[in-house]
Symmetry: C2
């Protein structure tokens, strides 16, 4: 939630938040949801859940597939096509991402910052059986992980304070550590993390810059911590930085114009 | 709006409706919108528009690209694969659609009914310079056009009354005409329309049936009225019906299981 919104939103804003929470329950593992799922997944009263589903159904954002079961609706198609056009990376950038997968064997992602979140907008999966797979388009915390630090390094000065002062907030030691790490990214041009967001998950990330040098996005390789050893990380860093520079040179794609 | 919702929705529902109205302003011709556009396009007060945009931005559904300019946001990407998986037609059905384009030269669409709307979920564009192009995923009225009548022919008995009694409603003569036309589709298995939804646009449509014979969707060819002459329409009818039967046989795809 952006800091400009009050902690207890007014009823209209709250309903919208809740409706987005309802839509967020639908994913590839859960293409349909019952009213009961929605009540359990959101904590909303059943009457509220039913009312929100009816409103979303009336606009085609969900579709009723049985008496109390819903899927995502066909009206989403209008926005997903637009979002894809808007947020797709260029074919040249995509080729660099695949090249990085070939060099490292690990999953390659492009993340952008959205307020106090980060969102993966492009992914090329790694080749190993045990690989990192994040959901594209799902907001993740900006305070954790190598990618987050790269995005923070490119964010406006006040943002780190907003993040540190947020809910739940950071204690002074954690805040100081985060500032140090972001400073290190600014001077070094890369970040590494182990198990910050998820135990056993590691990543190496570097900035994707626009023509003016501004950080537009972050490029990462990520995988199981057991493969991100002290011996291997330097090679990953070199490969990620080289790919990030190549993508910055060829252009990230339409999305670059909007970041 | 489904008939179960009151005519004057409560504030929470109204906010959600308004937020969807705001999102609906973004399309391929308008990938970005200013606050001013949103005010003009929705009739909302500026404070309301700003508040809705802030809430949507906080969840990544819109993205601020300049001080008062927004695009659709990367969080929409989370539903891309889901909506596509859910609503895509099968490769075999898609091949039949392309075959129908080859035979008629006109744009071929698959529509599904959603409440009192119809929504195009798949489109193969015609080959002529002047061709019909409808936006995929955008709800269109269920009372007008050949496709609408095919979908109404397969809808539950009460739906025609709901539609006729809706806002703005149909006068008795128009209602009687619609009932006659829907009956004609039920007996004949196809519909033709000229300029009902848009002046100069014609279409021929036929039902896509499930294994149990139920109408799941409608297949149409559409184009400029000047090419849908009395000489040509019988050939279009034959081609659309043949393709619709072929698609009903090979299966519409995942979407068929949810209709």
């Amino acid at each position: 939630m952006p800091p400009s919104l009050p902690a207890t939103p007014e009823p209209g804003v709250r309903s919208l938040q809740r409706a987005i929470d309802v839509l967020a329950l639908f994913d590839e593992r859960h293409p349909t949801r019952t009213v009961r799922d929605v009540v359990d997944g959101t904590g909303l009263p059943k009457t509220t859940a039913v009312r929100l589903l009816a409103t979303l159904e009336g606009r085609g954002l969900v579709s009723r597939v049985a008496e109390t079961t819903y899927s995502c609706g066909p009206a989403l198609l209008r926005w997903v096509r637009l979002a894809e056009q808007m947020w797709q990376v260029s074919p040249a950038a995509r080729a660099e991402m695949r090249g990085l997968v070939d060099r490292c064997g690990e999953t390659v992602n492009v993340y952008v910052r959205q307020g106090l979140d980060r969102v993966c907008v492009a992914q090329e999966e790694g080749t190993a059986t045990v690989r990192s797979v994040v959901p594209v388009g799902v907001p993740l915390p900006l305070g954790r992980g190598a990618t987050a630090k790269v995005l923070l390094a490119g964010a406006p000065p006040g943002l780190l304070d907003e993040l540190a002062g947020g809910d739940p907030g950071l204690d002074p030691a954690a805040r100081a550590a985060l500032v140090r790490e972001v400073d290190a990214v600014r001077s070094g041009g890369w970040a590494v993390s182990h198990g910050e967001r998820e135990l056993g998950a590691s990543a190496v990330a570097a900035p994707l810059a626009g023509a003016d040098g501004r950080v537009l996005a972050a490029l990462s390789v990520s995988g199981p911590t057991s493969r991100f050893t002290d011996e291997r990380v330097p090679g990953y860093v070199e490969a990620v930085r080289a790919a990030a520079q190549a993508i910055s040179r060829v252009g990230l794609g339409p999305v670059g114009a909007f970041l």
